[in-house]
Symmetry: C2
Subunit: 117 residues, 2 copies
């Protein structure tokens, strides 16, 4: 086998930096290809190709209006990525570092002891 296609899942689609830029440029707006071309400063085929990949994975939706095609982000397709990476957050977030956990545990036990007395 080789590397999985970029269209295989959101993880692979989003591994390409330019594709993340496209999603970022779109944001919550609905933009035409040319508007994206302007904002990103790339040539038109390049934008269209990356949009094509994103569309295949379902990360964007397309709506045809006249000769334009309006694209928008489908954020729920990013949920698998969020769900996978989320559990790791506690390990760099200082609010949840180990010391904190230990201290909270100690405080709990302390309160229990107080009650017993």
């Amino acid at each position: 086998m080789a590397r999985r296609p970029t269209t295989h899942d959101p993880f692979n689609a989003v591994a390409e930096p330019r594709r993340r830029q496209v999603l970022g440029a779109l944001g919550t707006e609905e933009l035409s290809v040319n508007e994206l071309v302007e904002r990103l400063g790339w040539n038109q085929p390049m934008v269209s190709k990356h949009l094509g990949v994103l569309k295949q994975v379902g990360l964007v939706s397309e709506r045809r209006v006249g000769r334009q095609r309006l694209y928008k982000v489908n954020p729920q397709q990013l949920k698998p990525i969020f769900d996978w990476v989320m559990p790791f957050e506690r390990f760099w977030n200082e609010r949840f570092d180990r010391l904190d956990d230990v201290l909270q545990e100690l405080q709990k036990k302390e309160k229990q002891n107080v009650r017993k007395k």
Copy 2:
């Protein structure tokens, strides 16, 4: 150009499902290669190769003990992924859907009106 190397950044390293499995299998533990081989049920070279990629991107650290090599996850390297995907969370999380925002805005304005009276 071709696709960026899997060792280019965490996004590309983690695009491979098996690599996510390795990180998941490690979790918060520090495991030897053979322990990973057992837990994952893959052949040893396969585990070593994926660990090699993960090490190059800094997603895991290696510690040599005798003839063993103990690997552990470096969670902070996943932060860029979390930071990129996090802003999108509000769009699939119903607590922050548009209706909610509109209602909150209306409530704010209502309170202001009340004060004016």
